[in-house]
Symmetry: C2
Subunit: 336 residues, 2 copies
């Protein structure tokens, strides 16, 4: 009896995302809905909220799960969302999903001559080539979704493909963004005491698709001592544990300029021996530690860095013993 | 004769900033104008351009100097601007300036009943408490400056204080932002071959104000080998050189997911012995290096990290040998 009550409660689960309807975050939420259905066996309904902070609060209060933008490969980490997870009492991420950022251009079926283009300021900035080519006057909106919803007959709207069916618009042209390889990673959030079980369920789903089962974790460290070498000592322990790190950043502790936390993404789960040993070791040395997320590791490129990938300028080893112009180039590239 | 021609050319120097007029970047540009006048003895005129990339291009082509948003203590590093400096051929930063982000609320002198509030979407988000308190309907604009310029009689506009005199508006209330300690750091940009001289002139100005003369540098590193420990080995050399690092982040090389550059801020100038030795050492080991900026070190807080500054939750050393609940807390905070 108890059990069936629990099940029926869980079946009414809600997945909170940053609204309004028709945003990229809704596209991510739809992806999250599928993962939760396939890996966990629960159908959840989507609910749009107005602020990212509200998503964390709803999960914290046990109202459901959440989907939160984490990192864009052009704009970088979504820092306020990362801060929100550092500050959350009992919420962590259990799955990472990746969304290609593709803008389509829409018009109303009854459109007149097109003279304006409407989108969020970021959307306008990311499609500047298209706007310039068609000589349209940019009009800023509070979101791409709102732009498409409130489109006038002389306007082109920019937004994710779901805006077409959602607002009854015709697609004028697909994929009109300037940069073709932009993507945003999102985290699915749950209460901390559910995370380990959820991660393992998500990992089984990946395993059954014949991919490598393994985990990644995002961990926050705050050394209570400051000074030269604190970070090097911390990373020595990561290296000596043989752990591969794929992302790292320092971040001022909010409201305390001059103090730092370090946020690291590492190829292991916190319950695996190497990472567990590392964490105990640094805690013993007076470092504050909190795990922000654990998720199944997704396949990724790991190309060698070739000369053609390097930015222009800069310097690397060219056998400078015999390089007559070493000091001239050093003056320019290194500002000696 | 030649000399006076040069001087008169230089006196027509331009400082490029991201427009339109009335943005926070213009406030920063005005600060930059003062520094350039006092430290370098040159009066430059301000010129607003539409895109950050254009600022770098104008400096690159020798048309003048630039001011570029670098980091906000709430939003983090302005990643596209950092990427633009990594990719620039012959532009680097020579001075860092810091601007408090303060939003004032403006109305037209002939205003009617106030029912709406108008600003850039970020401005609306950063003043949500004020908007909520006064029950105003938010209206998004392409920039805070445009919002204030085009204000209707039933609207409150949000923007930096310069918007008042600039657009003939009355100040309804000062400092209406939610977070009172937000600030944005900007870099002044010049051609690389001028940077060392300009930094030293800016440092003399600081020295004459009786502050500690010293430098900071922002340096990009790309290890050509990847794998566990590459970063730890790099940071060991920074520690062993006794250099204090104040900011660090990894960043995918643009368009090459899975490859990384590392951007470090360190308390030294590249022409000082310790940093110079470090750079030669890592170049010899096959690391690509480029200096992005050098600037006089400004005074900053360096408080110890106390318990009350730590985020909620997490774990640190509590003599867990005798802590009965260590494993329970570890399960929750570390996701063991």
């Amino acid at each position: 009896m108890n059990r069936s009550t629990n099940t029926s409660e869980v079946q009414q689960a809600t997945l909170y995302y940053l609204g309004p309807q028709g945003t990229f975050t809704q596209e991510a939420a739809v992806q999250g809905q599928t993962i939760i259905s396939e890996a966990i066996g629960i159908e959840c309904e989507l609910k749009a909220v107005e602020r990212a902070k509200t998503i964390v609060d709803c999960v914290e209060q046990g109202h459901g799960w959440g989907v939160l933008a984490w990192e864009n490969n052009v704009e970088g980490t979504v820092v306020p969302n990362m801060d929100a997870l550092v500050d959350a009492r009992k919420v962590a991420g259990f799955c990472k999903l990746s969304l290609d950022i593709v803008f389509d251009a829409f018009v109303r079926p009854d459109h007149a001559e097109l003279t304006e283009i409407r989108a969020h300021a970021h959307g306008l900035a990311q499609c500047s080539g298209f706007i310039h080519k068609h000589q349209l006057r940019p009009v800023a909106a509070s979101s791409n979704a709102a732009a498409c919803r409130d489109l006038a007959i002389n306007q082109v709207g920019l937004g994710p493909s779901i805006c077409g069916p959602l607002y009854g618009l015709d697609t004028l042209q697909e994929a009109v963004q300037d940069f073709q390889a932009a993507h945003t990673d999102f985290l699915l959030l749950a209460q901390r005491d559910q995370v380990k079980e959820l991660v393992q369920k998500c990992a089984s789903r990946i395993r059954s698709e014949n991919r490598l089962p393994a985990f990644e974790s995002v961990i926050a460290f705050i050394p209570l001592q400051t000074g030269a070498g604190v970070l090097a000592n911390l990373l020595d322990r990561v290296r000596d544990a043989g752990l591969n790190m794929t992302s790292f950043m320092s971040r001022p502790i909010k409201g305390h300029d001059g103090t730092y936390s370090f946020i690291m993404t590492v190829d292991a789960a916190p319950w695996e021996a190497e990472l567990k040993r590392l964490i105990v070791d640094v805690i013993d040395r007076g470092v504050w530690v909190k795990t922000l997320a654990v998720f199944p590791r997704t396949p990724r490129a790991n190309p060698p860095v070739d000369q053609w990938m390097l930015p222009v300028g800069g310097m690397t080893d060219t056998g400078h013993g015999t390089d007559d112009n070493f000091s001239g180039r050093a003056r320019k590239e290194l500002l000696w």
